[in-house]
Symmetry: C2
Subunit: 245 residues, 2 copies
Amino acid sequence: MQRYFVNVNQLNKNVVTISGSDVHHIKDVMRMHSGDKIICSCDEVAYLCVIEEISDVVRCSILEDITKNTSLNGKVTIAQGLVRREKTEEVVRRLTELGCSNYIPLIMKRSIIKIDKINDFKLDRYQKIIKEASEQSQRNDLMKISGVKSINDLIKELNDYDLLLLADANEDNFMLKDIDFVANHYQNILVVIGPEGGFDDSEKEILINNGFKVVSFGARVLRTETAPLYAMSVLGFLLGDKDED
Amino acid sequence: MQRYFVNVNQLNKNVVTISGSDVHHIKDVMRMHSGDKIICSCDEVAYLCVIEEISDVVRCSILEDITKNTSLNGKVTIAQGLVRREKTEEVVRRLTELGCSNYIPLIMKRSIIKIDKINDFKLDRYQKIIKEASEQSQRNDLMKISGVKSINDLIKELNDYDLLLLADANEDNFMLKDIDFVANHYQNILVVIGPEGGFDDSEKEILINNGFKVVSFGARVLRTETAPLYAMSVLGFLLGDKDED
C-alpha cells in the first residue's frame, strides 16, 4: 500500500491533511479516489487511513495504528568523502532502503568535488530522495542527512558512537568478521568511507588517533559508491531487525 | 595499478600483446608510455608487466606472477527478473565488485521488460561493464553473465548448487541469519530475486517445489536493484575470502 510521510501538524485528532507534492502523487500519479486506502507515517507511527476528500489537499480518516517496527537493532551512520551528485543520490537512496540512520558527507582532500562547489550540495534534493525511499521501503522514520562537514567537525561528535570504523582498501588483515558484534551489542556505529581517491595519510592519522579502527571490506577493491552499500548490508545483517524473534 | 584482462592467445612466452579498445585506454586515457607498468590478468593469473612498445597494439614483457587470490570462499549466482537496462548495468557492475560468480537474467511474469524486447538484452554491453569492474576491483576472474533464461531453463540447472534461496519481501520469519553457513560450508549458492512487481504465485510455487527456500532480506522492502547488492554483500561476508587466514 502507498505510504506518505506527514508532519505532526498535519494530524488533527482522527484526520490527516496531506498537502504539497504528495497531493499531485495521490491524484495524478496513483489516480486515487475517495475510499482508497493509504498509509500515513508520522513520528515513527504508521496509520492506515481512508481518503475522504481530494481537492487542493487530500483529507483522510485514520482507521488504525498499523505500526510495524522496521528499524534495525542499532544505529549505523555512514560518513563518506564527497562524491558527485548522481553517486550521492544513489548512495542515499540505497542506504535508506538498507536501514541506515544517518549520512554525513565529508570534505576530504582527495574528493573530486572541490570546496568551492560545496554550495552545490543539494540537501533538499537528497532529503526528497530519502523521503521517497523511506516510503517505498516502508520505513517509519527518515534517514537523517547532514550538510557537508569536515573531518574536524566529525571528530567533535564521536561521543555518541560505540564503534568507529574506517574502511580502507589497503588494509589486509582486519575484517568486519574479526569484530565481535554478539558480545559487544553495538548500538551506534560510525563508518567512514573515503572518496574516489581514498584517504590522505593525514586524514587516516587523525581518525586513527581519535579511536577509529581500520577495517577491510574484503579482497576486492570496492568503488566509493559501492562501499557504503556493502557496509550497510553487512552491518544491518549483523545488527538484525528490532522486531526479530 | 591499472589492470587489463587478456586471453590466453594474447600471451606468447614472456610477451603479452594487447589489442582492441584496451590500446585506446592505455594510449589515450591513461597516457602511458614504454617503461610504464600494468597488470595483465589471464585465466585467473595476474602478471606484473612492463610496456615495451605502443603502436596499434601494446606489447609488454611479463616481470612476475603477482596473483593474489581475490575470490570468495564459495560461489554465488544471482538470478533476477529482467529489469531495465540502466538498472541491469548498475547491478552487474556492483555484483562484479562484490565478488559474484554468475548473473542470470530471468524472464518473469511481472517484469516490466517484455518478451518482445528480449532481443534488446545487451549482453555485449554488460560483458564490457563486467570487464571494467573486474579490472577496477582487482578480480582475477570475470563474473559470468548468461543470456536471458526462463524459470524452466533455470530449474534444469539446479544440480550444481548446494543452497537455493528465493528472496521475498512478504516473508516474515525466515532470515539469512537463520541459515547455518558455518556448519554447512556452502560452496555454490543460487539466489533468485523477483522483478519490480515481485514473484507471481505460480513462479514461487515452481521454485519452492524444486527445493528453493523462501528468505527475507529484513523488515524493509528493498528495490529489485538493491536486493542483489544486499544478498551479495551479506553472502560474501558469510563465505569470506579464499586467502583469509
